[in-house]
């Protein structure tokens, strides 16, 4: 049984992060932007778990645990904000959200 080199995981993680970054920058729908952010968080998690494996330490896994909790909090608050904005504007297209634009 041949183990996969850690650098492959790092490469996969970088590609996924790049895809998430492109999605977050190009999409206009608030929900789709959120999905891209989740993708980026997961790519970072993969790096942490890969290094935990390489270094034989649990620390990376513990941090992934925290990242998941923060992602859950972020999703809950963010989606509640989208509901609040949708009530006012009837759209979640971020181009039309200019409440805080000067």
């Amino acid at each position: 049984m041949s183990a996969v080199p850690i650098s492959w995981y790092l490469l996969l993680s970088a590609v996924l992060f790049g895809i998430g970054a492109i999605g977050a920058l190009t999409r206009r729908n608030g929900i789709s932007i959120f999905l891209s952010v989740e993708l980026m968080l997961n790519a970072a998690n993969l790096t942490l778990v890969a290094y935990a494996r390489q270094l034989g330490s649990h620390t990376g896994q513990v941090i992934v645990f925290f990242v998941m909790a923060v992602a859950a909090a972020e999703a809950a608050v963010g989606l509640a904000l989208f509901i609040a904005v949708f009530r006012q504007r009837h759209t979640i297209d971020v181009n039309r959200m200019n409440l805080m634009r000067w």
């Binding site: 183990a3 996969l12 970054a21 859950a72």
Partner: protein
């Protein structure tokens, strides 16, 4: 064997991630994200973190994604409006994303990856896989961050409840005077926002 599983699920994760950011309908994007998260869970197991793999499926695919689907269906989000999209700006931002990727690629692969080499990582030890070791770390060295995360989740629950209240309801942002100053935002909200969603 491990290489085969890695290749299969890495390809699955990449393919479904691309669908997440390219599909016009948010529902399909979300369902594709489930597939990405599942593939990542398999990779976590492959990396000797079965507990995190299970957590990934339970918390991410089970809770967060369902929350997304719930909100998408509640708001009745239609396909993205494409009429006013600036293709040039979209191209530039996509190039910025590619630059982010290349920067990470350089960091991960050229600077560290070559040092890690193509050699296999150290074998998975019983200690690494064990839940006991993870728990000892979590409730030992990381006890304070753990408590803070608990507090953060409490604040998030309260914040989400307040932010999503219907305007005018007791305890809503409008009632508390946060929206009250100045003219109403945009067109005034209809008295029953639910009717709007059923079209």
């Amino acid at each position: 064997m491990e290489t085969l599983i890695f290749a299969l699920f890495a390809a699955l994760a990449l393919g479904s991630a691309i669908v997440v950011i390219t599909h016009k309908s948010p529902i399909y994007s979300t369902l594709s994200l489930v597939l990405t998260l599942f593939s990542m869970a398999v990779l976590f197991v492959l990396l000797g973190a079965p507990f995190l793999g299970a957590l990934q499926i339970l918390v991410y695919a089970g809770a967060i994604v369902v929350l997304f689907l719930f909100v998408i269906m509640l708001l009745n989000v239609q396909k993205e409006e494409t009429a006013h999209i600036d293709r040039g700006a979209q191209l530039w931002t996509a190039l910025l994303g590619v630059a982010v990727f290349l920067g990470m690629f350089w960091l991960a692969f050229w600077r560290t990856g070559l040092r890690l080499g193509d050699s296999a990582p150290p074998a998975i030890t019983q200690e690494l896989v064990s839940l006991k070791g993870l728990a000892a770390e979590l409730f030992g060295a990381y006890l304070l961050p753990f408590e803070m995360v608990g507090l953060l989740l409490l604040v998030a629950v309260i914040g989400a409840t307040v932010a999503a209240r219907r305007p005018g309801e007791a305890g809503s942002l409008q009632e508390e005077g946060i929206y009250a100053s100045g003219e109403p935002l945009g067109e005034p909200a209809p008295p029953t926002p639910r009717k709007e969603a059923n079209r």
